[in-house]
């Protein structure tokens, strides 16, 4: 009975050392690593800097949708900015929305779609915050045309732990603008941002799906679809032999026939439990990949689909990361610059298929050459591959280190927002500008990721 009623928890005296505040757990989407931290909610932009400075380091976090440890901090205070969720201004003439950094892309869609506007860039989940989207300079299926999310951010306010407010844009404080976009939350707290939305007349997407086998066919389809707004491929990372690198190339454009712009329904499905570790194995994953590839019977399919399943197929099931069990999952995403014979990507795929660890949804996409405004942004021209792995201590980490090594050999780099394993040496080779960036890190801020890749973990 004691647990079911709202009650006041007696507050320990301020000077009490044992009376430690409750520690609500905060996990990243990969649920690995698991690090204890104090969680302090920020509900208003004026809640930061806090009146009582916490003892350890601080790190702003949003929805916790990055996979590894960019949103984690051991023995520190996570500033949970999700509560800063006010929309501040919208101009339908220009599509410019000003909102606080804790607003999620889902909330922007709920607001903007009925008014005939859509996100300029969206990742594979809409449950990320605007602050997180800027801090990780996320990308989407239209990278080859539209660049990163940061390319559509006009302005934002950065608040430093010393209380200074820095208004950042292409014109004002340009260095802070560049360092904060893709700056992993380390340069200060983003309180609000201005983002330019794009007009739509319907929720519909003109969709085309093409089956392919091998990188040659994938690249041919990518070339043909170079001017199509959204392109991405699902690729089978399990099959070998004649089915090696088979997949489905998906392309879409916003349909142009006006149709009612209703708001999305909230998903009803929640993945109910943590699956046991053995549930995901070579057999079940192979079966999934077989079924997914063969779901589409014809070589080519054309249809009009709703934007939800097109952009956010996994959002339909909340907490789908429970599928990987309590241990969590490891994500891997790299970009490899173009090379004539796709040696790098082939090596990576071979390492994955032979490990037998591959997962369901591996994603392959061509990045374009629209430059990112962020100094440390991940995307660059080339091929990007993303997939997740169940955590099997004896093999998963070895595989990820091997993949990182191949990525480095071929002049590529890995994505911090999806990483829990790269070494300091690898990171510093991927991002040679890191030392210049370090000068902009707020002296009171730190993250588990940043400690690791700067060799302090």
């Amino acid at each position: 009975m004691a647990t079911v009623l709202p009650e006041t928890v007696p507050q320990p005296p301020a000077d009490s050392k044992q009376g430690k505040a409750l520690e609500p757990s905060f996990e990243s989407w990969g649920r690995y690593p698991k690090l204890p931290a104090d969680l302090r909610p920020l509900s208003w932009t004026t809640d930061f800097p806090p009146r009582e400075r916490p003892a350890g380091a601080m790190l702003p976090v949003g929805a916790g949708r990055s996979y590894g440890d960019v949103c984690l901090l051991e023995e520190g205070t996570l500033l949970h900015a999700r509560g800063m969720d006010h929309l501040l201004q919208f101009d339908p003439a220009t599509g410019i929305l000003r909102c606080e950094a804790g607003v999620t892309l889902a909330e922007i869609l709920d607001f903007a779609v009925p008014l005939g506007f859509f996100l300029p860039v969206t990742p594979g989940t809409k449950y990320v915050t605007v602050g997180g989207a800027i801090a990780n300079d996320i990308h989407g299926k239209n990278h080859h045309i539209a660049g990163t999310f940061g390319s559509h951010v006009l302005r934002f306010e950065l608040v430093r732990s010393d209380g200074s407010h820095i208004l950042c844009s292409h014109r004002e404080n340009r260095d802070w603008f560049a360092m904060t976009i893709g700056g992993m939350g380390l340069t200060g707290l983003i309180t609000w941002a201005e983002v330019r939305l794009r007009p739509i007349v319907t929720r519909g997407i003109n969709y085309r799906g093409d089956k392919f086998v091998g990188f040659q066919e994938f690249l041919e389809l990518s070339r043909q679809a170079a001017d199509v707004e959204y392109t991405v491929a699902w690729i089978d990372c399990v099959s070998t032999g004649k089915n090696f690198a088979r997949g489905i190339f998906m392309q879409g454009t916003h349909a142009e026939t006006p149709a009612p712009l209703t708001r999305s329904k909230e998903p009803k499905l929640v993945f109910p439990i943590d699956l046991p570790e053995f549930a995901l194995n070579k057999f079940s994953i192979g079966l999934f990949n077989f079924a997914y590839y063969n779901k589409q019977r014809a070589k080519t399919v054309n249809s009009v689909v709703d934007y939800e399943p097109f952009f956010y197929p996994l959002d339909a099931v909340l907490k789908w990361n429970r599928m990987y069990g309590k241990a969590g999952l490891l994500q891997f995403q790299c970009v490899l610059p173009w090379d004539e014979d796709q040696r790098g990507i082939t090596q990576i795929m071979k390492a994955i298929t032979s490990s037998g660890l591959a997962s369901f949804l591996a994603v392959l996409k061509v990045f374009g050459d629209v430059p990112s405004p962020g100094f440390l942004s991940f995307p660059k021209p080339g091929l990007t591959l993303a997939l997740d792995f169940p955590i099997r201590p004896e093999v998963s980490f070895d595989l990820l280190h091997r993949l990182a090594a191949i990525t480095l050999d071929h002049g590529g780099r890995m994505y911090p927002a999806k990483d829990a394993t790269m070494t300091a040496a690898q990171y510093q080779a991927f991002y040679p500008g890191w030392e210049k960036f370090a000068a902009y890190v707020d002296p009171a801020f730190d993250s588990a990721f940043w400690r690791r890749v700067t060799g302090r973990a």
């Binding site: 009975m1 709202p6 009650e7 006041t8 509900s43 208003w44």
Partner: protein
């Protein structure tokens, strides 16, 4: 001009006391999407400005704010006048201000408890008097007050807070009995655990509801002219059980 068929069901001119509270904001956002006008009252001008921009952006027809400490009962009459001056009239008043307080401090020092009673009971009681008389005179209006399940029975862990809400509940029962027949809707809202800054120091269990869920429940209760609503609804059952325990057993329970 043809009227939107939804319009008559939603109040259009809304006074919110404690407008920066999470539950008040969640409720106001739903009404803003339907083009309502707002007069917002709270203590912190920066927070008020954020709430005002938010509601305006979401479609509010008109938003006016007033920085005021509602513990000052003398300000309540002028507040009502200012609201009517700004909006012409009031369809709905939502009383959302209140503090959770600190039980340990309040049971040790009656003056700490007095401050809590002032904020959680005397202040809303005064506002309820002003609003009830205003609505009664008009023969319509919705007086919605955020109370708490904690007012259903006193427990050692938060009975000072609970007592302030219990008093509020009884007052609202009486006011409803007095003016319901005049066409005024008096709504007692009893939320359980809600994930808000007020409860940020509590461990979030499965019984916690999102403010948005509670906001939707309030709107449904306003539309369907409910008298007393538990939000989420399962709290009605929990509190029924809690109230049913005989005192001689209850007094020995650890809650």
């Amino acid at each position: 001009m043809p009227k939107n068929d939804r319009q008559p069901l939603f109040p259009q001119k809304i006074l919110i006391l404690g407008a920066t509270s999470a539950i008040a904001q969640a409720t106001a956002r739903l009404l803003a999407e339907r083009g309502a006008s707002f007069f917002l009252v709270a203590r912190d001008p920066y927070k008020l400005a954020a709430v005002a921009s938010d509601l305006q952006t979401r479609g509010a027809r008109f938003v006016r704010t007033l920085k005021l400490d509602l513990d000052d009962l003398d300000a309540h009459g002028p507040l009502l006048t200012a609201t009517i001056d700004a909006m012409g009239s009031i369809d709905m008043a939502l009383l959302a201000h209140g503090v959770l307080g600190n039980q340990a401090a309040a049971q040790a020092d009656a003056r700490v408890a007095e401050a809590l009673y002032r904020t959680n009971f005397l202040s809303p009681a005064s506002l309820i008097t002003w609003m009830a008389n205003y609505f009664e005179g008009r023969g319509e209006g919705c007086l919605a007050v955020i109370s708490s399940v904690a007012g259903d029975r006193g427990r050692k862990s938060n009975y000072v807070y609970g007592a302030s809400k219990a008093a509020l509940n009884v007052l609202l029962d009486g006011v409803r009995n007095r003016i319901d027949r005049s066409g005024v809707h008096v709504l007692t809202i009893k939320p359980g655990f809600v994930a808000t800054p007020m409860t940020a120091h509590l461990k979030r269990g499965p019984l916690f509801a999102e403010p948005r869920t509670v906001g939707r429940g309030i709107l449904r209760a306003v539309q369907s002219r409910r008298d007393v609503v538990y939000l989420p609804g399962f709290w009605r059952l929990i509190m029924f059980v809690v109230r049913s325990v005989p005192a001689r057993i209850f007094k020995n329970m650890n809650m």
